[in-house]
């Protein structure tokens, strides 16, 4: 028991102990606990936080939108930047621009995320004061309407940039590699021989085929991106699931931890389902 709820339990009297165990169903056999857990998930009940006693469903759904906002913005931006730069580099393979881009992205890839975040906070937040360094919005300011959107966007910028720096490299590298591969295909030479413009060749004939592995990478990285968000959300005190998970782990708040993992799993599964819809659009061989 000690391992589950921590030191506090040692200080409890045996009645208190029994009460707590009863309340959370921890006195039942493990298998029954598991069935109960599955059963309540189906009813949309993820249990109660050990710490705040609030329903986990409420806690998680309060945080989820922020993580989604952060992750989706990140995925969109990383994909656009990675794909555009990867295509550009592949088209100019071996030339100066390709080498410069490669070095930039490999550099991005090798930087630790929390460190980038801290540098950003120190420079653009604290020193220059351009961006807020804490939270997802200025709750106390009571902004409404458009001002509120701007406020949220301002809070979003630094964590997003940090996350993009983290996730863009793998997309860039995948796109570049896949594009180089496709550009060597016979149908690309054919497209050029037909007299199509470079732009047409690149965007209609090459891009579509080159994107297929990128979709796979983005979707596979979805879990990783949410994981990356844990650190970033913590550094920027962003009230998303990542930070919630961090807090829950610190507090050994197991139902909340489970709730977080459950939601992350749902997100990853959803991402895979979306990918399954995108594949056939890109590649007619996948039906």
């Amino acid at each position: 028991m000690k391992f589950i709820v921590g030191e506090d339990i040692v200080l409890m009297s045996s009645e208190e102990k029994a009460e707590v165990l009863e309340k959370h169903g921890l006195n039942k056999p493990v298998f029954e606990q598991y069935l109960n857990y599955i059963g309540s998930i189906l009813k949309g009940d993820l249990g109660y936080s050990y710490r705040s006693q609030k329903p986990v469903t409420d806690i998680v759904s309060e945080r989820l939108p922020w993580t989604l906002l952060l992750s989706i913005t990140n995925i969109i931006l990383s994909t656009i930047i990675g794909v555009a730069m990867g295509t550009w580099a592949a088209w100019n393979r071996g030339k100066k621009i390709d080498i410069v881009l490669n070095n930039i992205f490999v550099f991005f890839r090798s930087m630790p995320s929390f460190w980038i975040g801290m540098i950003f906070i120190a420079v653009f937040g604290a020193r220059l004061g351009w961006f807020p360094i804490f939270g997802a919005q200025s709750v106390w300011a009571g902004y409404m309407g458009f001002e509120k959107i701007v406020d949220i966007a301002m809070h979003l910028i630094m964590p997003t940039i940090t996350l993009v720096i983290l996730s863009v490299s793998s997309i860039y590298l995948t796109m570049r590699y896949s594009m180089i591969d496709v550009l060597g295909e016979d149908y690309i030479l054919m497209a050029k021989m037909k007299g199509l413009s470079d732009k047409k060749v690149r965007y209609t004939h090459a891009m579509r085929n080159a994107l297929i592995p990128v979709v796979t990478i983005v979707m596979l990285n979805m879990g990783y991106m949410v994981g990356g968000a844990t650190i970033i959300e913590t550094v920027f005190s962003y009230p998303g699931m990542g930070r919630l998970l961090f807090e829950a782990v610190t507090n050994r708040d197991y139902p909340v931890i489970q709730g977080c993992f459950f939601m992350i799993t749902i997100c990853v599964i959803a991402a895979n389902i979306i990918a399954d819809f995108i594949y056939p659009l890109l590649d007619p061989r996948v039906v």
Binding site: Y187, L189, M193, K194, G195, L196, H205, P284, R285
Partner: protein
């Protein structure tokens, strides 16, 4: 004036140890309605010649010299934008890897349509689609395949689609690089008959790159024999069969081995093809030639006229003795 004049076309590939002189000084004329066969063993530079004529050589290849004059305009001097207007509209090519020349992501009809719409922007959508369907029928493919994706087609069907594609913009010259290799005999005969008919009817110039001696002698009115990046003999089909001059041509055509198989005939000529990277300046056929003499080792012979319509690169013929 000839429809297509190729002059001293020379293409090298960059390698770590120097240039691979894959195509050296190719020159010939092609008349409207003329069908020229280019034959030679694997690696002798046939495909390189084809792509060079389209000015479509890509890194590590480089066209070092030469002219390809079509309608009085030199394709080699054109920049990419000028070239784009001429490619496919005036000169089209069926590449050797025709099976892989279709983009897997688009319907085959669309891919033919794309070329037509590009080069005939004034044509209406219905007209263009009708033209594609007509072309498909021409190469023996049901028009319903317009909406098919390449992965649903057999290799032979893809090849025929590419042939249809080559015909799509009514070019003046078509280069066919082993276009019918691998098709079954009946289809091959049909396609070749079709190409020949179109060549004669429309005054199209046809260049047929092939391994198949029988096919080339049956369909072409002139034949160029290539060896190690160079044209060694260029003459009428008649002359090639009755009066071959170059020792290599002789070996190929008067060979005792009565086989259709080109490769068997080639190996009946002893010796190996010289390396093309930094080759020595001697006749490239020297090592395999059974009539070589001292002169052949000093300098590579060039293709000279020995009579009307008959050109040979060998010191035994004509006034090639300097």
């Amino acid at each position: 004036m000839a429809l297509l004049e190729v002059r001293n076309l020379t293409t090298y590939y960059e390698t770590k140890i120097g240039y691979n002189e894959a195509l050296q000084g190719l020159s010939f004329d092609l008349e409207a309605g003329g069908i020229l066969g280019l034959i030679g063993e694997s690696g002798c530079g046939k495909s390189t010649a084809g792509f060079s004529m389209m000015n479509m050589i890509e890194y590590p290849g480089k066209i070092m010299d030469g002219e390809v004059i079509l309608d009085g305009k030199d394709l080699i001097k054109m920049d990419r934008n000028e070239l784009r207007k001429v490619l496919w509209k005036d000169i089209a090519m069926i590449p050797q890897s025709a099976m892989n020349a279709l983009n897997p992501a688009y319907k085959v009809g669309k891919q033919i349509l794309e070329a037509i719409k590009l080069h005939f922007p004034e044509m209406s959508q219905e007209e263009a689609v009708a033209k594609v369907e007509h072309l498909l029928n021409l190469v023996g493919i049901d028009a319903k395949w317009y909406h098919g994706y390449p992965h649903k087609l057999s290799g032979g069907m893809k090849q025929r689609i590419i042939i249809a594609m080559a015909l799509s913009c009514d070019p003046k010259v078509i280069i066919s690089d082993e276009a019918t290799t691998g098709l079954d005999v009946l289809i091959e005969a049909q396609i070749l008959a079709l190409l020949k008919k179109i060549a004669l009817d429309r005054g199209l110039g046809l260049i047929i790159i092939s391994h198949d001696l029988n096919m080339v002698t049956a369909i072409c009115n002139r034949i160029g024999i290539m060896y190690a990046g160079m044209l060694v003999e260029l003459t009428t089909t008649e002359n090639v069969l009755r009066n071959p001059k170059h020792p290599y041509t002789r070996a190929l055509f008067s060979s005792q081995i009565d086989s259709k198989d080109f490769d068997k005939k080639v190996t009946s000529v002893d010796g190996v093809v010289p390396k093309l990277v930094n080759p020595e300046d001697k006749c490239r056929f020297y090592d395999r030639c059974n009539r070589k003499f001292e002169m052949c080792e000093r300098k590579c012979p060039s293709l000279i006229s020995i009579s009307d319509n008959h050109r040979v690169a060998c010191y035994l013929e004509g006034d090639n003795h300097e």
